[in-house]
Symmetry: C2
Subunit: 233 residues, 2 copies
């Protein structure tokens, strides 16, 4: 490549990708320092940095603060998922949103929920079941457990007016959580709530959220058939 001080970071990115693809830089190998690359390619160090970051975001380089930048042994694509509250997701599609509370009780959770919330067997939890609707049609069934010791305000919340999904986002800032996506066949109650055939394939998300070491809540969201979750890579 010729020295060219107006070289764009995209041009540098293309050259970096070429070297990785052509195995001039081999998987696992350290790549030259930014300053060295800047000299070699005749551009600024900022431009090299911007290009390497883009390639790293694509998962083809691994950058460690002190250890330098290596060609990834196992390239990993990264996707970013935005998870809005369900009301906003529906309104963003231009549809009218409504929510219908099905049941609310303090009760002993089943073993699977207890395991997710790491709670003792005799600890009662707030169990809230409700349906999110889009343009009057079932959209997602929210099956939520909240630890009332960790979130005492939840006892006073009026879940006939606001879904736990939205109430928690607005009232309980939390530190972290994990999330799983899968598919299940609709059971008879779920099929009735979501107005679909029993056995229909449903997209499911399960989320458990905590603050520090304290588990706050776990939820299963069962979406009506044909729901698709979109994102970009």
């Amino acid at each position: 490549m010729n020295a060219d001080s107006t070289k764009s970071w995209q041009a540098v990115q293309a050259e970096v990708l070429r070297r990785i693809r052509d195995r001039e830089w081999k998987p696992g190998e350290l790549v030259p320092h930014e300053a060295e690359l800047a000299r070699e390619l005749g551009c600024s160090r900022t431009t090299v940095n911007r290009a390497l970051r883009a390639v790293a975001e694509d998962g083809l380089l691994e950058r460690r603060r002190r250890a330098g930048t290596r060609v990834a042994l196992h390239p990993v694509r990264k996707a970013r998922l935005d998870i809005p509250v369900i009301r906003v997701e529906i309104e963003n599609r231009g549809l009218a949103y409504s929510y219908s509370l099905i049941s609310r009780a303090e009760e002993l959770p089943p073993p699977a929920v207890r395991a997710r919330l790491q709670s003792p067997p005799d600890h009662k939890m707030l169990h809230v079941l409700g349906l999110h609707l889009a343009a009057g049609r079932p959209y997602a069934l929210e099956d939520r457990w909240i630890d009332p010791d960790a979130v005492p305000e939840a006892r006073e919340a009026d879940f006939s007016r606001i879904s736990p999904n939205e109430w928690l986002v607005l009232n309980v800032p939390f530190g972290g959580g994990d999330i799983a996506f899968s598919a299940v066949e609709a059971g008879p109650d779920e099929a009735e709530a979501l107005d679909c055939a029993p056995g229909a394939a449903l997209f499911v998300t399960e989320r458990t959220t905590w603050r520090g070491s304290r588990m706050l809540t776990t939820v299963q969201l069962l979406f009506a058939p044909r729901y698709r979750l979109h994102t970009r890579i």
Copy 2:
């Protein structure tokens, strides 16, 4: 809060979250400048910046370069999804990986695939169907279409030795893509390939990837029953 120059960014984050939750800072409102917050809270501007970034990553603040930082009107949680090649995903679970090519042909794609690849009706595509196995058991069925004009090297690739999934990651750096997650009922051929009952609920990912304005490839990955995709928020 007392002035305390050793205040951690986590303490500042907690204070920011408290103000949002208690509506001292209302949804949509501009928050004070970093320098002002640093003075008020008695910490460095770097600490304030680190804290605001963390809260923004949680989706509760919106930061715009020139317009300043606002309390989000519609909080959105952000999750990051790592998408490794399937071989690595399986090996990371400690299972032996294998891949079996089912078929390979250049043929006219069905309308849904044509739409995703934005190709004319008479344009033939490379169609590769194969099965990823974990410990000898079906893991995911890869139904892949590649535009051979956009990726001519694919014509020479030996997809009986390497899956298109892995070959593409290693050979074709691409600029972007979109991805959708959903659930479908297994059809008879799919059920046979994945060794499950017809009608079983399967988790599906569909990805279409491009470089510039050029569509390269689209794939449907059908995972065997009980597959779960995990991530953190």
